[in-house]
Amino acid sequence: MKKFAIASLVLLAASSAAFGAGDAAAGKAKKSQCAGCHGIPGYRTVYPDTYQVPKLGGQHAQYIVDALKAYKSGDRKHATMRAIAGSLTEQDMNDLAAYYAEAK
């Protein structure tokens, strides 16, 4: 039983490493489609409502990944974000999140 517990823990640790903690440098290489809206001062989305798109710099990486996943699945509704998130792999999401989460 103890061996099983240890083996499970090792496997669990290994699996999160396998998914790849995000790499901010890799994220930087992928961020052009994000910067088009999120990197422009005062940029406003106009459909379905008009408001400034949220600032991403310094946000929690996990929150950014959660949001991208929710957009991709349709849990969180926004046509443009759904399309963009839909084009991202989990690794892409982790990398982009790591990039944006960096302190100023």
Partner: protein
């Protein structure tokens, strides 16, 4: 003269009343400070720099984005068990005030 006085007597109070509509949309950060630092702070941190990765940082976020988001939580257009409950009783003014408060805090930034 009397006619001008009458016009002023009617339009001045109207301006004061409806002029507030623009202010309400903009939000009074000071008015929201108590709520933000006592209730919202529990998850989002005292100044909106949440220490918990699953609760977003709000400090420095765009006020109009925060307003839209709080309204979406209030109407349940956006579903989140915690935020739907928290936003349920907020008035438009409280939403504007809270958004103005967090927009003024230091934290998030526009990253290109």
């Amino acid at each position: 003269m009397k006619k001008h006085l009458m016009i002023a007597a009617i339009s001045l109070p109207l301006t004061l009343v409806f002029g507030n509509v623009a202010w309400a949309a903009k939000g009074n950060a000071e008015a929201a400070k108590e709520k933000a630092t006592t209730i919202c702070a529990a998850c989002h941190g005292a100044d909106g720099n949440s220490p918990t990765p699953s609760f977003p940082k709000l400090a420095g976020q765009n006020a109009d984005y925060l307003q839209v988001t709080l309204k979406q939580y209030r109407s349940k257009q956006r579903k989140n068990a915690i935020m739907n409950g928290q936003a349920e009783k907020l008035t438009d003014k409280e939403i504007a005030d809270l958004s103005a408060y967090y927009a003024l805090q230091k934290g998030l930034y526009l990253k290109r």
